[in-house]
Subunit: 82 residues, 2 copies
């Protein structure tokens, strides 16, 4: 089973990487960019039957820094990213 | 309009960061982890009406390194991440 974890900075936390990309996009001539935020996407191939609690624990213990980051878990169908 | 760009290493490209996380998860006692791949998620708040071509061009020119990375663009509804 495939799981996608999105780890993003909490709202309000300064995102210098996003600021840099925003600035670079404007420098390349792209108009209409209002905001850019950058996070991580972690795709985990797990044994079928791994519990949601175990996945949450992975996120809290290792994948996300809960002080400044939020995470979201999305389960991917078997067909996607086959 | 909000757009989410997922930038991931192409299949076959070595992902040392993913390997390190895989190893760390096993070290923490999580069983059943088969594979871990790590990429970036870039959430861009764009002026309404920005064309798909412009978004593709942003990805190719700046957001993804097309030699080793693939990207996928997902449009987020106004309700999400409001």
């Amino acid at each position: 089973m495939k799981v996608r974890v999105l780890v993003r900075l909490k709202p309000g936390v300064l995102d210098p990487q996003g600021r840099a990309v925003h600035h670079a996009l404007e420098g390349l001539g792209f108009a209409g960019v209002v905001d850019v935020r950058i996070g991580r996407v972690i795709e985990i191939d797990l044994a079928d039957g791994t519990s949601d609690e175990a996945i949450d624990e992975m996120c809290r213990k290792l994948l996300a820094n809960m002080v400044i980051e939020d995470y979201a878990v999305e389960k991917l169908g078997q067909a996607e990213h086959a």
